[in-house]
Symmetry: C2
Subunit: 238 residues, 2 copies
Amino acid sequence: MVSPETMAPPYQRVKHFLKAGLAAGRWPPGALMPSEAELTAEFSVSRMTVNRAIRELQAEGLVQRSQGVGTFAAPLHKVSSTLTIRDLHDEIESRGHVHHAVVHLQRAEAASAALAAQLGVEPGARVFHTLIVHHENGVPLQCEDRFVNPATAPRYGDQDFTRITPTHYLFGATALWRAQYSIEAARATGQEARLLGIAPDEPCLIVVRRTFTREAPITIGRLVHPGTRYGLQGEFEP
Amino acid sequence: MVSPETMAPPYQRVKHFLKAGLAAGRWPPGALMPSEAELTAEFSVSRMTVNRAIRELQAEGLVQRSQGVGTFAAPLHKVSSTLTIRDLHDEIESRGHVHHAVVHLQRAEAASAALAAQLGVEPGARVFHTLIVHHENGVPLQCEDRFVNPATAPRYGDQDFTRITPTHYLFGATALWRAQYSIEAARATGQEARLLGIAPDEPCLIVVRRTFTREAPITIGRLVHPGTRYGLQGEFEP
DNA sequence: GAGTGGTCTAGACCACACG
DNA sequence: GTGTGGTCTAGACCACTCA
């Protein structure tokens, strides 16, 4: 019987050795780490193997390298972090809860000038408009007001959005290339407050998401969440 | 005179060729891409060189590989995206605006039971507490209510936070290992509303951030932003 | 000049998938 | 069996940094 460490490919053993040392504080941030030659001798592997291990650590941001100088433990100087936004359906299901959607509006409309500019269509052109409220275990959690460019998703008007979310449908039906988000706190509109069953002055978390193919805008969606029922969470490790 | 492409290392030329083809739609998502052997012949380089190019594309999430099958253009099936949170000082400066901070409170206090648990100290132990309002061009933008574990940052109480933000100071003075965020929409407290100069019922974007060293919690901060003045933005490209 | 990383080669053996 | 990726080797040349 052999241990997993003995089984692993050599480059992974080298990588694991270095990673464990960094996690244990053996090389504090900025410290000089072993050279490729030292590791080559230590592990009895070729230099290419050691090089791959270190290069991957570099790609992961754990070490910094300078030609002619050496390899150093990375200072954890990131002052910015990232926050993940998930599809609401997945999020609810992953909590083991029941998601269901009520479609309040699903039709084609003539686009206003401002909307047409954002969707990349002619003013007055027909675009799809849906207004859907998503519930978690029967409680309204999100009011989704969405416009879709029919050039990128011509069948959008025919879908049954009680069975698949617009987000999921559009991910499958279009060639997503880019997405933009903005997040703010504000009041819901009167209609949104009614649909969500909240007071008109209750703070809401509002996400506006726009997505694009390589050529054209796909959709712009306004996602309104009651502040007392929904928040975003993120975690970050170097 | 030679073009940059001719100068670049072979693995980068291969990588660039594949990346450009993906961006141009030559291999749509899911399509089979050239094998290592084909690229080896095409570029007259060794297989290791081609392998490195493709492996890096895989690490970047642009292609998927299966042993015995082949390399495929990655389907852009990510349904989640990321949003970056920046330090407020950097963010204001990068807009070319002036940041200044007003320190309303800076002292050591006895920790309540709930706070002590979050900071990993004994109930009643002294912890640092600061209450700082950050302004952009003179307009209050963020009310920062922060508690700090003195075990991880013993000099926190002596800093001049009109000159450096707590975030910046703690990044430099501690060995950050992990950070957690939550974002929600809610009303400010009465005190916060007064300090920010807003109505008590105005929706606010509230970020709660907790950071940790490998061993212990460093700080927990509550960052309150008027919803009309501040939002978060993010972008995502595959 | 000695030590470092950056890169490349030509071949090799293996595990895996598919017809 | 054939083709694919996964990995390793032993050596090589280069550019860079520092004493």
